[in-house]
């Protein structure tokens, strides 16, 4: 037998390849993400090429310009009608460009910009050896307490890598709620998670705690990612595709053609249900919903406070965006199966977050549990499965993220010899020492508590209204009860600040640079404007409230 004859036993000659279709990429529609990724790469190059002294300024400049430019691109796209009439799928079906995606991308970019201001703050920590320092470790690689750390501090090193890391995280977050197939979803998840794990470990003070938080976050996050990935695999087995639209069609039963390679598994409901459960579990982990919330308090407490603020705001926006799209676009046909489960999750999240928060004595942990309770409120809007549900969640996320960044920015100001004074007892009498800072923090707490005339109330009203109209009235009742419980611990902090006697050895309030002042000012402004005149933003959210399929 000739060689070629033997060969033909197990191969066939392919047709000669005449041309490869170049993937069609809509650069314009993807420009927000591309700008951020590009700037992040530039940031890495800056680390490599620019002298150490100039890096901080170069990084802050590049990051700020990129975030502003990307936000401008989002606004331009929205103004061009990509949020409504021109909404469509881009990048070969990988990315959706529609109202919710643009709204959430805009929110993430603004949160990123405000977060950047808190990252870049260098007036709070006392200068070390004549060098101004920020909240991040001098040299991440040096062992805490070692000689190399001391040398790094003395040399005035700063970890300017946080800025490209921030941009990479933002890039992932931009893609996450816009992802239109499960693989893109997973890649986006990893792209924004890995920088966050890293940034959590970079605190300048209490470094061991910070590193512990990062390891915890990484391990649990990796675990959740694995769940997500396995869920994606099962869903692929069920539907024969990772595209959202195709899976939705298979779930609805409108697409019946079976991929021969998957004939054994396609349409197998067990795969669908288990896959859905695992995928949603991964998303709920990022959202911080009970019972997948375990990481939240430790990570919020251990991470450098600017990172905590950014993470608490932007991650929640991105993750809820992705959750909404998965539930509303991929799995509407399955809503009778997922709604009861989500009901239970929402109820235990609202109650669990609010009740456990009562016992907290650390302000960062308290805000962490409060964020869990808020995740529960947002879930109530998600469960509505109505257009109002989408728009109420969008509005809530926008309102919540600015309050959160502002609140954590205030936390960075209250300091004693050991850095930030996060233990609640140290906040006693703050209202007498620094009335303005305490008043601003009180405004944020009242917004968290959902007192009328703050953005928190408008958001809470929107999601509860959507839930009630969507037939989830009992959730609303649980929601108001847990709001009442939650009010208790917000009020407790206010009592402490205003009605307790100041401690003689109490903390001082550092005077920040205009950067942090801007972050806090934006938080207050958004809180008041969205509380008193939310109409415009509600309309914006409502116009943006339609997913493309």
């Amino acid at each position: 037998m000739s060689a070629s004859a033997v060969h033909s036993l197990w191969t066939t000659a392919a047709d000669p390849i005449s041309k490869i279709d170049a993937p069609k990429i809509e650069y314009g529609q993807l420009s927000p993400t591309l700008i951020i990724v590009g700037a992040a790469v530039v940031g890495v190059l800056i680390e490599a090429l620019v002298p150490r002294k100039s890096r901080y300024y170069a990084q802050v400049f590049v990051s700020a310009v990129a975030l502003v430019a990307a936000f401008a691109a989002v606004v331009a796209l929205a103004a061009d009608g990509y949020g409504t009439t021109k909404a469509g799928i881009a990048a070969m079906g990988a990315i959706a460009v529609d109202g919710p995606a643009l709204f959430l991308q805009g929110t993430i970019l603004l949160a990123g910009l405000v977060g950047l201001f808190t990252f870049a703050e260098r007036r709070l920590d006392p200068a070390a050896h004549g060098n101004r320092v920020d909240s991040f470790a001098a040299q991440a690689g040096s062992v805490p307490g070692s000689d190399s750390e001391k040398a790094a501090v003395k040399a005035g090193f700063t970890t300017t890598e946080v800025f490209p890391l921030l941009l990479f995280a933002v890039a992932g977050m931009l893609v996450f709620p816009a992802a239109n197939d499960l693989l893109t979803l997973f890649i986006a998840l990893e792209v924004f998670s890995l920088p966050l794990y890293l940034m959590c470990a970079l605190a300048r003070r209490k470094r061991l705690m910070s590193q512990e938080a990062a390891v915890k976050y990484f391990l649990l996050g990796a675990f959740a990612s694995a769940f997500t990935l396995f869920g994606i695999a099962l869903l692929y087995g069920y539907a024969g595709s990772v595209s959202y639209a195709t899976i939705a069609q298979v779930v609805d039963g409108t697409l019946t053609s079976v991929d021969p390679a998957l004939a054994d598994t396609m349409g197998n409901d067990a795969l669908l249900l288990i896959g859905t459960a695992m995928l949603v579990m991964g998303l709920l982990f990022k959202v911080g919903a009970v019972p997948f919330h375990m990481w939240t308090p430790d990570v919020y407490q251990g991470a450098p406070t600017p990172v905590t603020g950014f993470m608490a705001a932007a991650t929640k926006v991105a993750a809820f965006g992705a959750l909404l799209r998965v539930l509303y676009v991929v799995l509407p046909g399955l809503r009778w199966d997922w709604r009861p489960v989500m009901w239970a999750v929402a109820i235990i999240t609202m109650l669990g977050g609010a009740i456990v928060a009562i016992t907290q004595t650390d302000i960062k942990r308290l805000l962490a549990y409060s964020s869990i309770a808020h995740a529960g409120f947002i879930l109530a809007g998600v469960i509505a499965t109505t257009p109002e549900g989408i728009s109420s969640v969008l509005f809530y996320l926008a309102a919540y993220s600015f309050v959160t960044i502002g609140a954590f920015a205030v936390v960075t100001l209250v300091r004693d010899a050991g850095g930030e004074a996060t233990h609640l007892s140290k906040w006693a009498g703050l209202g007498r020492r620094s009335p303005l800072v305490a008043a601003v923090f009180a405004v944020f707490l009242l917004a968290f508590a959902g007192i009328p005339l703050t953005s928190g109330f408008a958001g809470k009203f929107a999601v509860f209204k959507a839930a009630a109209e969507g037939g989830a009235a009992p959730l609303v009742v649980v929601g108001v009860i847990s709001s009442a419980i939650a009010a208790f611990f917000y009020i407790r902090v206010i009592v402490l600040m205003f009605f307790s006697e100041p401690r003689p050895e109490g903390p001082t309030v550092a005077v920040p640079s205009p950067l942090t002042m801007t972050a806090i000012g934006v938080g207050v402004a958004v809180t008041v404007v969205l509380g008193v005149a939310p109409q415009y933003f509600l309309e914006l959210a409502s116009d943006a409230g339609v997913f493309v399929r």
């Binding site: 007498r432 009335p435 009328p452 009010a487 009605f499 109409q535 509600l538």
Partner: protein, 523 residues
């Protein structure tokens, strides 16, 4: 477009609050005068409202309507009926006295931060409360009402927790702890009530599709909006719960004695004479207006609770050792009367209840403010620490007596008319309830007269022997209140004229007619 009188009346104290808060730390006295000026200007506008209001005209007058949050179907709709006018007038009348009485209550003791400005804060918060209370009396949009109903808790909370009596038997530390406890209790009770109401507000929107009180009431009346019986009852309970906490009705009353006891006397007046009236006002306007059937359904239970409030509040008042807590329990008893009058569903009962809200405001203000002057002189709230005051400070004792007599509804003083109307109105429909409630009056005589006897008569205690009589500022607070009490006791017509048509409207909301007197046919 006509001048937005209602908005202006609420905006004026709000602007005053901002202006007062902005006064520099050193110019403390200027802040006080500014606050007083704004409260007087508000009073002037309230008088204009009373003059412009035509009792026989439309139900809601001086209306303003603007789009606000159309996504939620919320409008900025204002309008007053006679009940609202009477209560706005009460609020506007009391505020200058509250400010004048609290003139020195917030002078800074210790030097904290240079930017710490308690005086400015105190008067700004009082004006903020006034603005929100007036808006909640004016709002005809349920959502708008809810916003101010809830938001007024925050300034109230800081007033209770941040400012208290200077002297305390266990020292400043203990006083501060008790104060913040009282403030937190106040806030949590009312916030919980408000949040339950929030669920009901959302439910109402789901059922009715908008928040406009006149529209919903109209739709209910002509049958175009049908509510399932159980839905209506749940929604009613949600609303009523919030109002019953605010009013307060037994067993949701326990925050009131703490709050009134720990707050300074002017703030205590603000709580019981002004802010709590929003609760009873809202029962009349929203519970009866939106849920007439459920209101009738709940009447027996509410009457029983009101009766318990009357008797229980009076009994506990008898047993109090603390002057301010005594007044608080007396107020609980009086709120029982008001709620009983509202839910007796007779026109006398409801007119009486509305009149009672006004008169209770005046009489409690008189009693409590004089009590505050007394307490500030001796530095103690305990009844046992006083004795024989009428010999050293006769004017103080005399005005205290008039306030007390008004509280026990002595004929000739304003509260008598309203209490009489409430009892008559209740008796015509629920004789047994009316009879039991009468015991409340007997107990009222007991607690006020015993209070007077123990503090003012008898041998002069050495600690009070040097007590000065009322000063000019204090007289300026008390004298007008006493005059008003006597005037409205003899001639209540100005108030009843305004109130009665509005009550008739409310009665027609619930489709109730007064029971006809049964007269034996004359042979």
């Amino acid at each position: 477009m006509s001048f937005p009188l209602l908005t202006a009346t609420a905006a004026l104290p709000a602007i005053g609050a901002v202006a007062t808060a902005a006064v520099p730390a050193a110019r403390r006295t200027a802040a006080k005068w500014l606050a007083l000026l704004f409260s007087l200007a508000t009073l002037a506008l309230a008088v204009v409202i009373m003059v412009r209001f035509d009792p026989d005209g439309d139900r809601y007058q001086l209306t303003e309507s603007h789009a606000w949050i159309s996504e939620f179907g919320v409008r900025y709709d204002l309008g007053v009926d006679g009940i609202g006018v009477a209560l706005i007038a009460l609020t506007a009348v009391l505020m200058p006295f509250v400010i004048l009485a609290g003139w020195h209550d917030a002078d800074p003791l210790e030097t904290g931060s240079k930017r710490w400005r308690p005086t400015q804060g105190f008067f700004a918060l009082i004006l903020a409360v006034e603005a929100m209370v007036i808006l909640s009396f004016e709002a005809t949009d349920v959502f708008l009402f809810y916003i101010f109903f809830e938001a007024m808790l925050i300034p109230m909370y800081f007033l209770i927790g941040g400012f208290g009596d200077r002297a305390h038997e266990h020292g400043e530390e203990a006083a501060s702890t008790q104060r913040s406890y009282a403030a937190v209790k106040f806030l949590l009770y009312n916030l919980a009530g408000g949040l339950i109401m929030l669920a009901a507000v959302i439910g109402l929107y789901v059922v009715a599709g908008n928040f406009s009180l006149p529209e919903i009431a109209e739709a209910r009346a002509n049958g175009s909006l049908d509510m399932a019986t159980s839905t209506e009852r749940w929604l009613f309970l949600g609303f009523f719960f919030a109002f019953a906490v605010k009013a307060p009705l037994w067993p949701l009353h326990t925050w009131l004695p703490n709050a009134m006891g720990e707050a300074t006397a002017p703030v205590a007046v603000l709580i019981t004479a002004v802010v709590d009236k929003v609760g009873t006002f809202a029962m009349l306007r929203f519970c009866l207006g939106l849920f007439p059937e459920a209101s009738k359904w709940a009447t027996p239970a509410i009457l029983v609770l009101a009766l318990i409030s009357i008797i229980y509040g009076a009994l506990l008042a008898v047993g109090q050792r603390d002057i301010k807590r005594l007044v608080a329990y007396a107020s609980i008893s009086h709120f029982g009367f008001i709620i009983m009058g509202i839910f007796a569903m007779t026109s006398q009962g409801q007119s009486g209840a509305t009149l009672y809200m006004v008169n209770h405001g005046l009489s409690t203000a008189a009693l409590m403010l004089v009590a505050g002057f007394l307490i500030s002189r001796r530095g103690s709230r305990l009844i046992a620490d006083y004795g024989g005051v009428q010999k050293v400070a006769p004017v103080l004792a005399g005005t205290f007596l008039i306030g007390g007599l008004a509280t026990l509804s002595l004929p000739g003083l304003a509260p008598f008319v309203s209490e009489f109307l409430v009892l008559v109105g209740t008796y015509t429909r629920y004789p047994v309830v009316g009879i039991i409630a009468t015991f409340g009056i007997v107990l009222a005589a007991l607690y006020t007269l015993v209070l007077y006897q123990r503090t003012m008569t008898g041998p002069v205690k050495p600690e009070v022997s040097a007590m000065p009589d009322l000063r000019v500022r204090e007289l300026a607070v008390v004298a007008p209140l006493v005059v008003l009490l006597i005037f409205l006791g003899v001639y209540p017509k100005p108030v009843t004229d305004i109130v009665n048509p509005a009550v008739e409207q409310t009665m027609s909301d619930v489709q109730k007619k007064d029971p006809q007197p049964e007269v034996e046919a004359a042979k």
